[in-house]
């Protein structure tokens, strides 16, 4: 890539030199530059257009249709899909589950990530091994993660119930229990995303100037005070980024649910995207599913805007 960029610059240099000397030459160089530019951009643009932009427009259209993607008969139904959404009790449940999940997952991942990042932000032996181990959770495929957690939390054979029995806790039903399954998914995904939070926080911690914490120490601040008053505010841009990024992902939770509980037991882990998938690919209500997707899209925009507005007040950028 660097090579290509340099080449582009060289071309630009040529074009600039040609400027004013002979008009036609300059135009020819400029147009060939245009051609090269478009040639580089076109494959990616076509792919993004075909698999990104086109489905976005098409699903917007479908959200106003009754459409099963099989038969050619796709009548427009106006806002019927959106009205159905308001009255669908499963949508209400799914919204509730999505919000509970997000409210636990986002702060949970950030706290665990920050803790591990601080613990690993020092020069000790095997530190790169620890850092690699922490990030490995990001590299592991979701399906392996889900299979391992299904067994960890298995009511009969799971090692979690075995550990709990040491403390006299009776065996829990976990993913067989409508009141516990969602929390198992929270734990599973916090584990899976911690590596990401660790990397972001580690990078941010490297950017905290040592002289500031040293100055705080000289002024009589204890380690906790220095962390609370100096380090944490300096990490706020990273925190805002993580909060926004993790929230967007949390609102779109799907893989872990699909692989472990399939929305059950009794809809206890049915989140918005899982319900959308169910409506589209199991019930073949693509119109209704598109309406749910656009509803979620709106929710994500609103939540993100609020996060940025509120976050700006607590975020400190060093100039």
């Amino acid at each position: 890539m660097a090579l290509l960029a340099n080449k582009g610059l060289a071309n630009k240099g040529l074009a600039t030199r040609g400027l004013g000397s002979r008009g036609p030459v300059r135009r020819r160089v400029a147009s060939s530059e245009h051609f090269t530019g478009w040639a580089f951009v076109t494959p990616a643009a076509v792919i993004i257009g075909l698999f990104g932009a086109a489905p976005i427009v098409w699903s917007a259209l479908m959200s106003f249709q009754k459409n099963n993607l099989l038969t050619p008969d796709t009548p427009f139904v106006g806002t019927a899909n959106y009205r159905q959404l308001v009255h669908d009790p499963v949508v209400a449940q799914a919204i509730q589950h999505t919000l509970i999940y997000t409210a636990l997952f986002v702060p949970g991942t950030m706290v665990v990530g920050l803790f591990l990042a601080v613990a690993m932000n020092r020069k000790i032996r095997f530190i790169s091994l620890y850092r690699t181990a922490a990030y490995a959770t990001m590299a592991i495929s979701t399906i392996s993660e889900a299979i391992v957690f299904i067994w960890l939390f298995d009511p009969s054979y799971g090692v979690v119930n075995y550990f709990l029995s040491w403390f006299g806790v009776p065996p829990q039903q976990f993913i067989n229990s409508p009141s516990q399954a969602l929390y198992v998914i929270v734990i599973m995904t916090i584990w899976g995303w911690t590596g990401f939070a660790v990397v972001i926080y580690l990078a941010a911690l490297q950017g905290v100037p040592q002289h500031l914490t040293e100055a705080a120490a000289i002024d009589g601040a204890g380690p906790w005070q220095a962390f609370r008053r100096v380090t944490l505010p300096l990490l706020s841009p990273a925190s805002l980024f993580l909060a926004v990024w993790l929230t967007i992902n949390a609102l779109q939770l799907f893989d872990e649910v699909y692989l472990s509980t399939q929305g059950g037991p009794l809809n206890a882990t049915t989140v918005l995207v899982y319900y959308l998938y169910n409506q589209a690919f199991q019930q073949f209500n693509f119109g209704y599913a598109s309406a749910i997707a656009y509803f979620l899209f709106l929710v994500i925009i609103v939540v993100t805007v609020i996060q940025f507005r509120v976050g700006r007040r607590f975020t400190y950028y060093r100039s």
Partner: protein, 326 residues
Amino acid sequence: MAEIPQVVNLTQVVERPGINWDDFWTGERAVATVNGKVIGIPAVVDNLAVVYNKTLFAKAGLQPPGPGWTWQEFVADAKKLTNPAIKQFGTAYVTPGSEDTVWHWEALLWEAGGQLLTADNKKAAFDSAAGLASLNTLRTMAVTDKSMYLDPSDSAYSNLFNSGKLGMLVTGPWDLSAFPNVKYGVQVMPSYPGASGGHQTISGPDNWVIFNNSPARVAAAEQFLLWLTAPAQVKYFAVQTGNLPTRQSVGDSPAVSQQMNAALPGVGTFVANLANVQQARPQIPQYPKISTILGTMIVSVLLGKSQPQAALTAAAQQVDQALAAG
């Protein structure tokens, strides 16, 4: 599928001389025919039977199940095969609430003499004595005896059976190759004595379907499919892959059964069991919606969250609504 105009109507094709349409199993023909129109030719077929662990049966001092066994015997065996101390269960049931949850129960419903919907597919018919009997059978094992391992992931059960932790499994031939570590036997589904259903099972056949892209291509596709699904090819495919033969004449051949059994022990029972596929699930566009309702009904009973009769009544009401909505 039947609603797609490009799907070719094969009714006349399968009636051509030499095709012998009736040689395909009843359950296959029922699924390939929608509103009297044949839209597919059977490609792959399966069914449910009971796979049991011979070693665990011997250890528990139980006779292996015979072909005439009943659900009462199944429940009693499951109880004796259960030992919480070593985390051993009599049987398992998949509980994601999906169609996999539902079709296991539908076989019991039919055996108890019940029907899912009325003959005209306009109303629910499972809120019946048969529906209650079938749900009670499952509830006894899951809730009362705790002899049934509930598997919401739909994937743990096969590992558990292969680890010798489950006595019996109601499953299909596709799982047999996942059990190399245990000595297993296969028996047909138990029956409900006194009920009209006898020994039945359920099948989820897949069909070859032709899309109309031009008359020449349709003709070529028809010719190819008729060759592919002719007895010689069906036999070759079954023996080589262990997939059940889609034609009865092939399935009835003792040589085919022997060859298949040699490659994959127990598969012969699944072949013979194809004759017990007497019914098919309703071929209506509302079925996915109905399946969701039934999945919730079954899981809520198995988790002990509702009583069988209350669950049946509630589900029947919802199914009636779904059917009325169209």
